[in-house]
C-alpha cells in the first residue's frame, strides 16, 4: 500500500541520469519548476492528499499549523539533501529503512531545536513532532525524487513541497482558529458576542475544513484547465 502511494505520487519525476545532464547549467542546480510544482501544481495536501495526520490534527490553531509546517519542511529539506547525497551509496534492498533512519534523525534534531526555542511551542505541538517520522510526504519525496535526482533539484523539490505543505496547513489553521476560537494567531478578530464553533477545533472540524479547501482548490484547477 505504501509503495503504491510512493510510486503514484510522482508520475512526472524522472531520474536525473539523462545524457543532457553533462555540462549542467547553473540554473539546474536549483530548479524553479521543481519549486513551483510542490507549491501549487502538485501541492502535497490539496493535490496529492498526503500527510493527513498532522493536516487534520495540528491545524486547530494557525500558530500550531505554521510551526508544524516549518518543522516538516526542515525535516523534508534535510532528509532530501542527505538521501540525494547518499543515493549511490544506499543499496536498494535497505533504502526504505535507511530513509526512515535519516528522517527519524532529523525529527529528533528538530524536536531538540524546538525545545531550545520555546517550551510553550514544544508543549503545544506535543506528540505531533515525533509523528513527523511517519509523515508519508517525507518518505515519498525521499523515495520518488531525492533518491533519483541531484542535490540541487532535491533542495528545490523539498523547498517547494515544504512551502506547499506549510501553506496548506495555514489555510486550514486560519479558518479553524477563526471559527473555532474567534482569533487568528491568538489575535481576537471576532466580536465578543460571536458564538465559537467548538466543532472546528475538534477533529471533525479538520475534515470539514479540508473538504471545503479541496473543493475550492479542485474547482480552481478545473476552471483553469477549461
Amino acid at each position: 500500500m505504501l509503495m503504491e502511494t510512493l510510486t503514484k505520487v510522482a508520475p512526472k519525476n524522472t531520474p536525473d541520469s539523462s545524457p543532457k545532464k553533462k555540462g549542467r547549467k547553473p540554473a539546474d542546480l536549483l530548479s524553479n519548476d521543481e519549486f513551483i510544482k510542490g507549491l501549487w501544481r502538485e501541492n502535497p495536501v490539496f493535490v496529492q492528499v498526503l500527510g493527513m495526520c498532522p493536516v487534520l490534527a495540528v491545524t486547530n490553531t494557525a500558530e500550531n499549523a505554521l510551526a508544524m509546517g516549518l518543522a516538516t519542511s526542515f525535516v523534508l529539506l534535510m532528509s532530501n539533501v542527505l538521501v540525494s547525497s547518499l543515493r549511490n551509496f544506499i543499496p536498494k534492498e535497505v533504502r526504505i529503512s535507511s530513509y526512515i533512519l535519516i528522517i527519524a534523525t532529523f525529527v529528533t534534531i528538530i524536536d531538540y531545536v524546538i525545545q531550545s526555542i520555546s517550551v510553550e511551542l514544544h508543549k503545544s505541538l506535543g506528540a505531533f513532532i515525533s509523528l513527523i517520522v511517519v509523515n508519508c510526504l517525507i518518505l515519498s519525496r525521499a523515495e520518488a525524487f531525492a533518491s533519483k535526482n541531484t542535490i540541487g533539484k532535491s533542495v528545490s523539490d523539498a523547498l517547494g513541497m515544504g512551502m506547499g505543505f506549510t501553506f496548506a496547513l495555514l489555510c486550514l489553521g486560519v479558518v479553524r482558529e477563526l471559527l473555532g476560537s474567534g482569533s487568528i494567531f491568538g489575535w481576537q478578530l471576532m466580536m465578543d458576542n460571536f458564538q465559537t464553533w467548538i466543532i472546528m477545533i475538534l477533529p471533525a472540524g479538520g475534515f470539514f475544513t479540508l473538504a471545503l479547501w479541496l473543493l475550492l482548490f479542485n474547482g480552481l484547477q478545473l476552471k483553469k484547465s477549461k
Binding site: L86, A104, Y112, V113, K123
Partner: protein, 233 residues
C-alpha cells in the same frame, strides 16, 4: 509459465556486507548528528526548562516572589537545597518579598489517556487548599484531552480546591475526586469535562495521590519550611 519467468530480468543482488555497511554507516552519521545537536542545545534547553518551572511556581502560588527547593530524605524530613546543591526536588516553597511563606508548589506525575501527565500544583498551608495548577508535560489528545491545561472553566477548579487534613494529620479529610461535568457540589470535588473524561479524572487521581503523600509532611514541617528562608538568605 516457464517463459514468463525467463522474461523477468534478474536483478543483481547486493551482498549482505554492503547492506550492513550502508546501514551501519548511515546509523553512525545519524547518531553523531543527534549527539552533536543534543549536546549543543542542552544548556539552552535546561535553562529554558528551569525558567519555565520558576514561572510555573509563581503561577501556581499567588503572591510568591522567591522560591527554595526542598528535598525529602529517608527519614521523611524536608531539607532545603542551597545554591549549587543538587538533588531530587520534592517541593518548592514560595515566599513573598518579605520572606513570608505563601505556599508550596509540588510536582506530581500520573497516567493520563495518551501518556504520563506531569503537573505542578500550588498548596496554601494557611487555607489548606490547592490554589493553582499547571500542566508541565502532557501528550493528551489535541482539542480534547489537552483542555486540562487550557480550558478556563476547568482551571477555575484549582483556584480554591479544598485539601484539608483529618484530625490525625496523616491523610486528607476528603479525598480529591473528579466528578462529571456540572455535578460539582463539594469544595474538594473537581468539575470534570465532557470530551476529556479520562484526562480530567487523571488530574483528580494525580492530585489526590500526591496530596495524600506530601501534605501531611508539609503541614508537620510548616515551621521548618518558613524558617528555611531566613537561614538561606
Amino acid at each position: 509459465m516457464n517463459k514468463v519467468h525467463k522474461d523477468i530480468p534478474k536483478q543483481a543482488q547486493t551482498s549482505s556486507s554492503k547492506m550492513l555497511l550502508a546501514m551501519a554507516g548511515i546509523g553512525a552519521v545519524c547518531a553523531l548528528l543527534i549527539a552533536f545537536v543534543f549536546e549543543t542545545t542542552l544548556p539552552r534547553r535546561e535553562s529554558l526548562k528551569e525558567e519555565a518551572l520558576q514561572q510555573a511556581i509563581f503561577k501556581v502560588v499567588p503572591n510568591g516572589k522567591k522560591s527554595i527547593a526542598f528535598v525529602l530524605n529517608d527519614e521523611g524530613i524536608l531539607a532545603p537545597l542551597g545554591d549549587g546543591e543538587k538533588g531530587e526536588v520534592a517541593l518548592y516553597a514560595a515566599y513573598d518579598d518579605n520572606g513570608v511563606l505563601q505556599g508550596v508548589a509540588i510536582e506530581a506525575t500520573g497516567q493520563g489517556y495518551a501518556d504520563l501527565i506531569k503537573v505542578l500544583y500550588g498548596y496554601s498551608l494557611e487555607r489548606e487548599a490547592i490554589v493553582g495548577h499547571y500542566v508541565l508535560e502532557s501528550k493528551e489528545t489535541p482539542g480534547l484531552g489537552d483542555r486540562i491545561e487550557k480550558d478556563e472553566r476547568f482551571l477555575t477548579n484549582f483556584k480554591m480546591l479544598s485539601a484539608r487534613l483529618d484530625a490525625s494529620g496523616k491523610q486528607l479529610l476528603h479525598p480529591i475526586v473528579t466528578v462529571k461535568e456540572g455535578r460539582k457540589q463539594q469544595t474538594w470535588e473537581i468539575d470534570g469535562m465532557t470530551g476529556a473524561t479520562i484526562s480530567s479524572r487523571a488530574i483528580g487521581d494525580i492530585l489526590n495521590k500526591s496530596c495524600q503523600q506530601m501534605l501531611p509532611l508539609v503541614q508537620a514541617q510548616k515551621e521548618q519550611i518558613q524558617n528555611a528562608y531566613g537561614n538561606l538568605n
